[in-house]
């Protein structure tokens, strides 16, 4: 029975853990500042980002420029870390995953305007249920997956101003209000085998909202705004940040080179909180390692590191604290790559790169059932993903979480039914 390994590492206070994470927005802030040009240009870029419909796929690096996009991410990440500090949260693996996921999707889809109504909806839910806001903050952070609904209704010309703005904000508040009970319920569908559970819940909410809009003869048009230039400075900055994470991990727990293989024994199924099971040193090291692996893959296939790809990388790194490790990720990745090759997709295209990265949402399937099933799950994920996007019209940013939920909900009961065993 593997429950928890004995962890010997340097003790860290909550504030020190927050400071380790705070390096992320500080790095992004100065990176944006140096590459962003004059302040007026950056402000204009930020305005463009906030006024865009942000529906899938709207790359903020292209919409507002590199400086404004990085500034948007830095501000949103600061805001979320401030909330964790304000609510005195224990910095666990899930919160680390949430911070990195929100940060990543702030490169394409989430901005300072469209996330706030969702937080307010979460606050109203906690007041309604008479529970502290800290209980729901985690779900609400992830729920910003549906932030594009706020921007789409507000700025896509569906309604005349100012009704559009009021309706957009109201939709965001509604999402924040209903997402907590929904996300808890959706877990049972995939039994924790889909790490981006909110992506599945958001896919359901997005499908309902999009269907209502479509029944009112509203046309939701998908976007395809992508930054397509190779910017090696971004890759270099990311590589340095991931080396920093690994360095911090080694500082906290110098025995990692000898003990790292322990992490590979975990299936990754929710809840696999590495901060609790293996300590912060191992967690940060694993996150950095996964980040470098993701960068190496993108470089190898000649992909562009743009907004969606950055979101993919950050999400993989974030969930390196909550379930993902190289051993349970690679079979899924292999399955997606094989399926893409069979279908004839270009591996260097942004669409395939982000599918490869986000497909690791179902890494626990490979962690539990092994290489063969992992490859099958990855291939199935690729097939389903290409069909589910249209159901929610691109307003659910965690489209892979939606697809991953379907894959897990479909495969796991079948695998369990035919598994050998007495019970």
């Amino acid at each position: 029975m593997i429950i928890k390994n004995k962890v010997v590492e340097r003790e860290l206070h909550k504030e020190q853990k927050l400071m380790i994470l705070m390096v992320l927005p500080i790095t992004l802030f100065f990176f944006g500042l140096f590459l962003g040009g004059p302040p007026s240009e950056m402000l204009a870029g930020l305005k463009k980002i906030m006024l865009s419909p942000t529906i899938l796929v709207t790359d903020f690096l292209e919409v507002g420029g590199i400086g404004a996009a990085f500034m948007n991410v830095a501000v949103i990440t600061f805001f979320n870390l401030f909330l964790l500090w304000r609510f005195k949260m224990r910095i666990n693996g899930l919160l680390i995953a949430a911070v990195f996921t929100v940060a990543g999707f702030s490169f394409f889809g989430k901005n300072i305007f469209n996330i706030l109504p969702i937080y307010f909806g979460g606050y109203l839910y906690s007041r309604y249920q008479k529970i502290p806001m800290r209980n729901t903050i985690l779900v609400v952070m992830f729920a910003t997956a549906l932030a594009p609904i706020v921007s789409e209704i507000s700025f896509a010309g569906i309604l005349p101003a100012p009704y559009s703005l009021i309706s957009g904000i109201a939709a965001g508040i509604l999402v924040g209000f209903i997402i907590s009970p929904l996300s808890a319920q959706m877990l049972k569908f995939h039994d924790g085998f889909n790490l981006y559970n909110i992506g599945f819940a958001a896919g359901i909410v997005g499908t309902v909202l999009t269907s209502v809009l479509r029944s009112l003869n509203v046309t939701i048009t998908n976007m395809n705004t992508l930054y397509l230039a190779h910017h090696h400075t971004i890759t270099l900055m990311l590589a340095m940040f991931f080396v920093y994470l690994m360095g911090v991990g080694l500082y906290i727990n110098p025995a990692i080179p000898k003990s790292y293989r322990i992490i590979l024994k975990y299936t990754g199924r929710s809840i696999t909180d590495f901060t609790l099971l293996l300590g912060y040193g191992m967690t940060f090291f694993n996150m950095g390692l996964l980040g470098l692996a993701a960068l190496a893959y993108i470089t190898a296939v000649g992909g562009v590191v743009n907004g969606p790809v950055l979101a993919g990388i950050f999400t993989v790194v974030g969930f390196g604290a909550f379930g993902k490790h190289p051993k349970n990720c690679y079979p899924i990745v292999l399955g997606v790559i094989l399926a893409a090759l069979v279908i004839g997709y270009d591996l260097s295209s942004t669409g395939i790169i982000i599918t490869v990265l986000f497909s690791t949402t179902i890494a626990p399937i490979a962690g539990t059932y092994g290489l063969g099933v992992g490859i099958l799950a990855g291939a199935l994920h690729m097939a389903i993903l290409t069909n589910v996007g249209s159901t929610h019209g691109g307003i659910n940013l965690y489209n892979n979480g939606f697809s991953g939920g379907i894959v897990a909900g479909f495969l796991v009961p079948i695998l369990d039914a035919f598994k050998k065993g007495e019970d």
Binding site: R90, I131, N135, A184, I271, L276
Partner: protein
């Protein structure tokens, strides 16, 4: 607290599964709901768990209560029967845990404050 009885039932469900799958064929449970706390006591008779296992259980069940994890994941407790155990989740749903072996039986007492 919302769904309080269901949450307590799921904690019991998870631990019942753990002991019957991994340890013994005789388990007693007692649940006492008081105005400010719920007390769950478990006795797994003729336990095969070692002191090392007890130490692991102490660490994981005695971890800090995490309300945000409970709010998000409580419905997963007791869901899976033979893959992983959701002891991290149980640890996140209780405030105090006592784990010890006495006369060949494993005793666990879990306290969950309701306010």
């Amino acid at each position: 607290m919302k769904h309080e009885i269901k949450k307590i039932s799921r904690i019991v469900d998870e631990l019942t599964t753990l002991f019957l799958k991994e340890d013994t064929n005789e388990v007693d449970f007692s649940i006492k709901i008081l105005p400010e706390q719920t007390r769950i006591t478990i006795s797994a008779h003729a336990t095969h768990f070692t002191e090392a296992d007890v130490e692991q259980l102490k660490n994981i069940l005695g971890a800090q209560r995490q309300y945000e994890v409970e709010e998000y994941y409580w419905q997963l407790a007791g869901e899976c029967d033979d893959i992983d155990h959701e002891l991290t989740l149980v640890g996140a749903m209780v405030d105090e845990a006592t784990v010890e072996i006495k006369e060949g039986s494993l005793f666990i007492e879990l306290i969950r404050y309701t306010k």
